[in-house]
Structure formats: structure tokens, C-alpha cells
């Protein structure tokens, strides 16, 4: 990565990153892909998030689904760990709780492939600073 030497450098980099993300999010873009985040804080990992993320990466590849799987921190739902967030282009993100390998499989097969609802969705219950 290049050095950030001025505030303008930072703003430029941010804008680039944001538009890249917007592009990836928008539904009517050919290049947009599914984004999956796995809650990989200590409590997530302790409840098996590592196995879940490994499974997701492998299964999505095997099943030829283009998706970007990444780790993130604790989402706050300790009672429902491991948790994952799935964001399909153009749609609101959905958080699933109690995700083990079977559940992850179900999420791929039903929600990701066919948009069918899967049990275990955790409703959003907070504001972010932007809304």
C-alpha cells in the first residue's frame, strides 16, 4: 500500500474503497458478489466459527458460487454464536445465529441459492451511527 502523506491522500483512498464497495453491493452490476462475514471474536471462535469459515470457503468454491468470505469481530450475539452475516447484492444484510457446518450448508443451499428463508435469523436491534 502506498503511504498516506496528507489528509487528501486519505480521503482519496477512502473514496476509492467506498465506491469499490458500492459497486460490489449493487444488484445490477455484473461484478457484484455475495459478501459473507463470519464473527470471529474470541467467543465466536470458541463456539466453532473457525470450522464454519473453513467450510464456507470450501463449499462455496466447490459449488461454484462466487462470494467473498471474510472475518469480522464480535457481532454481540453471544447467546447465538457462531454468527454470520450474509449480504446479497442489492439486499439488506441478514445475520444468522447458531451457525454450525450443517446450518452453513443449509444457508448456502436455501438462502444463498434460492432466497428461501432459513431459521435462525437474528433481527437487527440497533442503530448505527449513520442512521
Amino acid at each position: 500500500m502506498t503511504k498516506i502523506k496528507t489528509l487528501a491522500d486519505l480521503v482519496k483512498l477512502r473514496d476509492e474503497l467506498q465506491s469499490k464497495q458500492a459497486l460490489a453491493d449493487s444488484a445490477d452490476n455484473a461484478e457484484s458478489i455475495i459478501q459473507i462475514k463470519v464473527g470471529m471474536g474470541t467467543s465466536g471462535i470458541a463456539s466453532g466459527a473457525k470450522a464454519v469459515i473453513d467450510f464456507l470457503v470450501e463449499a462455496l468454491e466447490k459449488r461454484n458460487i462466487e462470494a467473498n468470505v471474510s472475518q469480522t469481530g464480535d457481532m454481540g450475539y453471544s447467546y447465538a454464536e457462531p454468527t454470520i452475516e450474509v449480504k446479497k447484492p442489492g439486499k439488506d444484510p441478514v445475520v444468522f445465529g447458531f451457525v454450525n457446518v450443517q446450518k452453513a450448508d443449509e444457508i448456502i443451499e436455501k438462502y444463498i441459492k434460492r432466497d428461501e428463508l432459513v431459521e435462525g435469523i437474528i433481527p437487527v436491534n440497533y442503530h448505527t451511527i449513520d442512521n
Binding site: M1, G73, G76, S78, A80, I129
Partner: protein, 488 residues
Amino acid sequence: MTKYKQIRIALNNCGVIDPENIEDYIARDGYMALGKCITEMTPQDVIKEIKDSGLRGRGGGGFPAGLKWEIASKNHADQKYVVCNADEGDPGAFMDRSVLEGDPHAVLEAMAICGYSIGATKGLIYIRAEYPLAIKRLKIAIDQAREVGLLGKNIFGSKFDFDIELRYGAGAFVCGEETSLIHSMEGLRGEPTIKPPFPAEKGYLGKPTNVNNVETYASVPIIIRKGASWFNKIGTEKSKGTKVFALAGKVNNVGLVEVPMGTTLREVIFEIGGGIQNGKKFKAVQTGGPSGGCLTEKHLDTPIDFDNLVAAGSMMGSGGMIVMDEDNCMVSVAKFYLDFTVEESCGKCSPCRIGNKRLFELLERITKGQGTMDDLQRLRNMSNVIKDTSLCGLGQTSPNPVLSTLDNFYDEYLAHVKDHKCPAGECKDLMKYFIIAENCVGCTACARVCPVGAITGEKKEAHLINSETCIKCGACMERCKFDAIIIK
């Protein structure tokens, strides 16, 4: 802004960004606040902004952060330090860990902002060695920030240099106390010293040092970005912004919760927490960890903020919140916390070193049914004296679990002392095995299995347990097919 009870400020990026990728942070306006401070604001401006925001320390004491920065800025020295307190020793608390694991750059950015405002070029994060993942992510974050020049020399092309190092704590609770933490970083015994002098005057290596909690720092970049007036609209008159709690115990949705100051306990426990598990009855909520107290039904509608919790006999603490139901014995709860304190006292001052041990011993006697009315009187006096005379915050607050349960659950203490009963059924020593005569068919199975011959009765007639000889092994209860044996 009323749809949900929670607002995420400190947890803003937690569970959203990849903490190991600085680009994710930058995409969410990361380091914009630092850039703004360095290029558009004077150090005094920054301090004023933090002061105006009303941000108070999230590590327990609730001291105004801006004021602390100001004091450190006014104490002149050739070298000053910015310290992040990531010792997080409260049992069950993991707010700071989650922030560091989920959004490490926010803390780094805030420390640099603090350094800029007080005139420090060195930052130190004191983190417990038991947090390997947080340590790993902090290391990655520091490396990445250095790599792009957001830490190091001439940040944003200015004359401002700032760098951060990690220091590891061995996990002693008292090392989270700021003077103790500083001694520990200096390689000395981790025990507190009398304040004043405060760290802002004489801290690490005798230099002015600003110590703040992880969550306090995590709130700073947003305040700078969105302005003090945005932040101070959230919360109550004297406590601004939000607070993260680690909600635990007998609620359905245990986890991290971030709510505006002023949210009631009821809202947190019943709305966000989803109420009590298994439909049981709410009994108490313990806030503030080992330094806090147990609040009851009558406090449920108290708006949570620093001052209200103290007035109710508890503390904000660092944000532990443990919910209890009817099965929790409050004497045992007090005993649990005292056990922790006894383990964690540094031993420097006599009231805490010895007094807490005595409190624990008395509580243990009470839970065994050996307590007397005199003991209850002594429990209160010892608690008051320990609070009144201890050297540091640990001893000054450690009797709170005892005092608050004495205040709010005196009947339960009385039951243990006078009737030798534990109403919640938690104190094993006070439990008795009974046979319900109506259910007993007189099969004699229990009498045959009792190892001490405590059960008597004629065949086909109701049996009786002699509680004097009974050793509470529970063998009879297991054997009875008619649910005739109960514990009371």
C-alpha cells in the same frame, strides 16, 4: 432514532469490518478524525471538543475524559505517554476484548489523537496476556498503520510523531487500577499507590501520562468526526453517549449490548435481553462487577448512568451486567464476588488484605447456616470500614456486593441466619431432604438405599427422613419412583 434501543458507537465497526484489514477501516472513515485533528485543529481545539462532548471514562470511574486530557496537556515534560487500559479484569466482562478484536484501529486512532492533544509521542497498550486474539489483531493493526504512515513520524505530513507499543499484563485484576498498571509496566510489583499524584501529573516513568479505557478511546474518533454536539445529544444530563454492557446470567439473549446512557435496566434486560430464561422470575441484576452491587425490581426503571447507579448502591464499573433469577441465592452471590476480591487483592493495605477475607469467611458461615444476628451487624460494619479505609478502588468498592444485598435482600440473610434456610435453594448446606407423605407409598426403596440409615418407616406407610443423620447424598431421591422426596 427510537426504533431500536441500541446505538452502536464504540461497537460501530465491530462485526462489520475485517479487523485485520486497514482498508476496511479506512472505507468507514477510519483515520479521518486523526487527519482532521492534525490538519485542521489545534491540540486545545481537540481537548475542547472532547470536553464539550461530555465523554466520561468507561473504565469504571466515569472521570471526564476531556478534563483528564487537559490536565495531562498542561503538565509540561520532555516526554509524555498515552496509555490504553486493556486489562479488563472483571469476571465475565469482555467489552474491551471485543472492541480490540473487532475494531483495533479505532483505539489506535484515538490514542494518536490523544497524543496530539496532550503532546505525547508514545502510546502504550497494557493488555492482558490472556487475550491472544486481541493482541494478534492489535499487532497487525499497528504494523499496517505504520506501513501507511498513520503511525510513526510526521503523520499527515505534519511535525507530529506518534507510535504505539504493547505491554502485557499477567491478568491480575488490580493491575487494571491505573497506578498499579503503571507500576506493572515499569516492571515493579503491580500494586497501587496513593493518589495524588495522579498519572496525569506523574505517571509512567514519572512522566505525565494519560490513562483511558479501551471503550473510552473507541468513542473518540466518532466524536471528532461527528462533533461534540452530535455526541452530547445522546445520553443523560451528566452521562453522555452510549455504554457497552456484557449482558450475562439468566437472560435469554446474553451478549454485547450498547445502549445510550439513560436506557433503563428494564429495557436492557427485558427488551434487548429478551427477558429471563425459562420464564422464571427476575430477581436481581448485578452491575459493575466485583465493585458493583445487586439491584432489584424497584430499580428496573432507573435510567442507567454513572450517577444513578451509584445512588442506587451499585456502579457502572466497566460494564458487566449479570441477571439473576429466583434460583440465585443473594448471600451466595455476595460470597462469589468476595471470593474474587480476596483472590485479587494486592495485599498492600490491611482493610482490603484482611478485611475482605473476614467478610468472605462470615458469608461462608452464613451460607452454612452458622451465622448469627451479631454476624449480620458485623458484616455491615466491616463492609463500611473497608470501604472507608482501603487504599485503592478495589477495596473501596469490594464490599458493595455485600452492602447492596444486605440492603435489598435482608430477608434472605435473615432466612439463612434465623431459619437456617436458603430460600433460593442454592446453599447446599442448608438444604434438607423431605418425604411428602401423600406421595409416599411406603415401598421402602429409599430406606434400603440410605447409606446412613436416616430413613425410617413401616412398609406401605409414609416414610420419614431424620435430617440430623442425613448426609444429603441424594441417593434416596434418585431411587424413589413416586417423586415423593424433595429438597427444601
